[in-house]
Amino acid sequence: MAEVLVLVEHVDGAPKKVTFELLTLARSLGEPAAVFIGNGADNAKDKLAEYGATKIYVAGDGELDGFLVAPKAEVLAQVAQQAAPAAVLIPSTPEGKEVAARLAVKLDSGVITDAVGVEDGFVAKQSIFGGAFNVSSKVSKGTPIITVRPNSTAPEPSPAQPSEEQVSVSLSDAAKKAKVLDRITEKKGGRPELTEASIVVSGGRGLGEGKNFELIEKLADTIGAAVGASRAATDAGWYPHTNQVGQTGKTVSPQLYMAIGISGAIQHRAGMQTSKTIVAINKDPEAPIFELVDFGVVGDLFNVVPQLVDEIEKRK
């Protein structure tokens, strides 16, 4: 069986959940081979083996981190040219999509982004136009390069004994044109990550001021959710932009999405519309968010949310 390459998404070597999802998916399509780029591979190997990687390619050169995107595409292209894989699977994050884009040009291959599933014959399933259409697409030229959304597949362990191959890289000049001078972290820690969370609670302009995000955080912690925000809330500085949900923020697809004091503008919907269950609290019965909901409460969030938190506590 041909290899299916999976680009490992990791933080200092610790693979993110989406990596296990992609390995699980790759197992159903061919021989899952993980490609680890960056430092800390030793922290990753056991986990990659647990989720069924039969081979791990490691490119750990320190120089790779100093430049934007291009080096990753170059390493992947090098591995792909050598391994002639059946396909390459990459997490559908903003950076993952850019890696896929450059790889597609290098391999002169088709690329499909934002897949929510991949079936036999590398048919990618997508949900487009805000969920209005389901599309099946195929790559008709070169090696299929498919970026897959986090939360699309349930990760299942299937231990394997992977072989390991060191990839020696010598970056081309073209890969060193965008130099990373600094990486700044603004994120608030301690809660599940937005794109991986099974529940997301988001707040919008209806909260009135930044301090009131405490209400959203309280609800989120009660129910084990990640916290999201509308653009109105991030632009006002009430919550970090890293938590923005929508067209220019994150795309989330949790089991449950709770929109609180959010009107449901089309750019916001673009990032949450494929959530499995959607609920909203809004004092305006005409708010467009109610078109999407499974359950909606028309009311003042300052009354409804505290009561909701109490009720959830009671049921615990």
Partner: protein, 265 residues
């Protein structure tokens, strides 16, 4: 500094978008077209860079709009010109219909070969394709520095520095011209075209390029030259209307009840 801004005409954000039954491409004929919202921010940023350079005595460059799309895309090009761009290039040819991202980036790169440029500015994403891949593909094809997802751009001589939005915060990234920059909506507030701008736009130079003019190989673009194909599609059945209750002092409790029946709590 010469700047090219790539703008795309897309179906109006609020219009119902459709796929064509005959060739499974986005139906662009039967809906109103507008400039891709994020590309307005790209045009604005180009104008601001040009204005800043000319007020510091380093002016002289031009802002050129580049758009690939059917005849109708001229409306979008005019809008960009009326915002203040100097001239435009419209890449239009029946052979381009149905181009995917790989083909589009190839065609745009070829067209860019006919325009002098130090900077290419794009929106991060188009609202119809929603792929966010054309900017990175262009950087790869042009061998230019990729400075994408910018919420801030600083130009200093031939050095370009951006703040790139990331999952966890932002990166400071630097490169030299020629560079490809893509922008997010946090970067600026696009201007509205003035009446004077609209009138002036009618007289600004607009060059039309065909495949042959740009040296584009016909078998690398269009439906036939694309590397992906839509096998099938179906409209998702409309979602069942949800239950909506008015808070009579029990809204939180009712919501909790719903969440309990759905086993979330």
């Amino acid at each position: 500094m010469n700047i090219v801004v790539c703008v795309k005409q897309v179906p109006d954000t609020w219009a119902e978008k459709k796929l064509s039954d005959t060739d499974k491409t986005v139906d662009r004929e039967n809906v109103d077209g507008v400039m891709n919202e994020l590309d307005e921010y790209a045009v604005e940023e180009a104008l601001r860079i040009k204005e800043a350079l000319s007020s510091s005595g380093e002016g002289g460059g031009e802002v050129t709009i580049l758009s690939m799309g059917p005849d109708k895309a001229v409306e979008t090009i005019r809008k960009a010109l009326s915002m203040g761009a100097d001239k435009a290039v419209h890449l239009v040819d029946p052979g381009l219909h149905g181009s995917d991202a790989l083909a589009t980036s190839y065609a745009l790169a070829k067209a860019l070969g006919t325009i002098e440029h130090d900077l290419v500015i794009l929106g991060v994403e188009s609202t119809d394709a929603r792929m966010s891949v054309v900017p990175a593909m262009l950087a790869e094809r042009l061998g230019a520095a990729q400075l994408t997802f910018a919420r801030k751009v600083e130009v200093d001589g031939s050095s370009v520095k951006i703040e790139r939005m990331t999952d966890t915060g932002y990166d400071v990234v630097e490169g030299s011209t020629p560079a490809v920059v893509s922008v997010v909506e946090k970067i600026n507030e696009p201007r509205y075209p003035s009446f004077k701008g609209i009138m002036a736009a009618k007289k600004k130079p607009l060059t039309t390029l065909t495949l042959a003019d740009a040296g584009i190989e016909a078998d690398k673009v269009g439906l036939g030259g694309s590397a992906t194909e839509v096998a099938e599609f179906s409209a998702r059945p409309p979602k069942q209307a949800g239950q909506i209750v008015k808070d009579e002092g029990d809204g939180g409790a009712k919501l909790a009840e719903f969440l309990a029946t759905q086993k979330f709590i």
